[in-house]
């Protein structure tokens, strides 16, 4: 068990993080090729699917550009909080990394649940959900503010004494795991795995528009959070993917800004300031109910 307390340098952690980041993209792309072949064999490959996939990678590219612009500030906030407000200083060991991954996964759960329950946050996360398809490329479908919300939910880890480099590594691990879930190729995994871990089956449910599946399975790596907090649903009937109402576009610009364009339009037509405030704060379901009431 000695290796669990072996001390890394921050360089080692950074190296590990970029290593995972780079190689994972290669792995994900090759998995995507396999999926495309599978679509071809099942004769379900359509022009819309091709356009949708290209759009997914364009939103990824745009997102990466935005991240590059804000990365220094994002990291700076973590280091500032860590240097000034940390309660202890946890050593840079594999054991610390393991603990951090579990806590980052819990933070991810709450962040993700928040994204679904807050109008302003949903306007960026809706992009990820707006595809009517479900494959690895959908994992890369990002909204313009997807980088902002993780900040608030992961910052407490710096106060607990996790070195920011370890926090970033843990965020990458959760993200990478999440990416792998976006596939229809894997049906169900062995029972014990489905019980503890998030799986493609569980995440398909999360992307569903079926009524019984709405706002379920927010998990990153561990599905136990959803089971504990009462947001779990099992995949039994066939999943219909996407959001309601659908975006119905494969234009990358339309898709990328769809959430905020819609939000701005709703704000513009809002009857009063209270309604506008509610649009930003309340769940998207609230806005939808209001609009239907008025019809």
């Amino acid at each position: 068990m000695d290796f669990l307390t072996y001390s890394f340098s921050t360089d080692d952690i950074w190296w590990l993080e970029t290593f995972i980041d780079d190689w994972f993209l290669v792995i994900a792309l090759s998995l995507f090729v396999i999926e495309l072949i599978r679509y071809g064999l099942k004769k379900t490959f359509t022009r819309n699917l091709l356009g949708d996939s290209i759009t997914n990678f364009i939103t990824l590219g745009t997102f990466v550009l935005i991240v590059a612009l804000v990365a220094a500030t994002y990291a700076g906030v973590f280091f500032y909080v860590y240097d000034n407000f940390k309660l202890v200083e946890l050593p840079l060991t594999p054991w610390t990394i393991l603990c951090c991954i579990v806590l980052a996964d819990l933070a991810y759960y709450w962040e993700h649940r928040f994204l679904h329950k807050n109008g302003f946050a949903w306007a960026t996360h809706t992009v990820h959900h707006s595809s009517p398809h479900f494959n690895i490329s959908v994992a890369y479908r990002h909204g313009p503010l997807d980088w902002l919300f993780p900040l608030f939910f992961h910052l407490p880890l710096a106060i607990l004494g996790f070195n920011p480099f370890i926090i970033f590594l843990a965020e990458v691990v959760v993200q990478v795991y999440q990416t792998l879930l976006h596939t229809e190729t894997v049906k169900k995994l062995p029972r014990p795995i489905e019980a503890i871990f998030n799986t493609p089956s569980h995440h398909r449910v999360h992307h569903a528009t079926n009524k019984q599946y709405l706002d379920k399975n927010y998990a990153g790596i561990f599905i136990v959070w959803d089971r504990m907090f009462g947001t779990f649903a099992k995949e039994d009937v066939k999943v219909k993917y996407g959001i309601y109402p659908a975006v119905k576009s494969i234009n990358p610009v339309t898709v990328f800004f769809s959430g905020y364009v819609k939000l701005v339009r709703q704000m513009w037509h809002a009857p009063n300031w209270r309604y506008r405030w509610n649009l930003l704060i309340k769940p998207p379901l609230w806005a939808w109910q209001q609009e239907n009431k008025n019809k």
Binding site: S7, F8, P91, L106, F162, M228, F229
Partner: protein, 198 residues
């Protein structure tokens, strides 16, 4: 209500996992003790005091053997009373801290090439070079027999300053070695002060 209990459970999970992470502190302290000591204590050697017996001296002077080692950090010719400035420079060495291969267990301060009046010296403050990646600014600490002026214990800055007064300046002062031992989170917990005469 459901949401509130979920928050509460999350809080419990966070505290538990945090506790698991912090379990490493006592564990690391334990491995520190099993580390091979660099300093081997010789039998108490009182001969140096015999020529000048002081009845109220309670601290027996011990001879210690120090192995030759190399430390990396900062070095400068400086007035000994301005040592705080060099400590400041040392603490601001971002590059050095980034190059640490593992958490340092001690910081060594080495004084040599004293001026005639013993007010100035070449002072080096650093970590053991073998835990620093690509160590460039390094100083060799000459091994040999040292006399321990302050035993390894928690000493205040005043005690450390007072240690200088306990040095026998009639003998030919070669070097002074001050070691600060750190806990797992890098805070100094104890120190010792040793002198090497020519």
């Amino acid at each position: 209500m459901k949401l509130m209990s979920s928050f509460a459970i999350s809080g419990v999970v966070v505290v538990s996992i945090w506790g698991l992470a912090m379990m490493q502190f006592p564990l690391m302290a334990a491995t520190e003790h099993s580390d091979k000591p660099d300093v081997q204590v010789e039998a108490p050697n009182l001969t140096t005091k015999q020529s000048n017996p002081r009845p109220n001296t309670t601290e027996a002077v011990k001879g210690v053997r120090i192995n030759t080692m190399s430390i990396s950090g900062v070095q400068q010719k400086i007035a000994i009373k301005h040592i705080a400035k060099l400590w400041e420079t040392f603490e601001n060495q971002q590059a050095l801290n980034k190059n640490l291969l593992r958490y340092p267990r001690k910081i060594s301060v080495y004084y040599q090439n004293f001026s005639q009046d013993y007010q100035k010296a070449d002072v080096s403050i650093g970590y053991l070079s073998d835990i620093v990646r690509s160590a460039n600014q390094s100083t060799t600490i000459k091994g040999g027999r040292y006399e321990r002026v302050l035993q390894k214990a928690a000493h205040s800055n005043e005690e450390l300053a007072d240690a200088w007064k306990k040095i026998d300046y009639r003998k030919n002062l070669q070097s002074v070695l001050e070691i600060h031992y750190l806990d797992a989170s890098g805070h100094p917990v104890s120190s010792e002060f040793m002198v090497n005469y020519k």
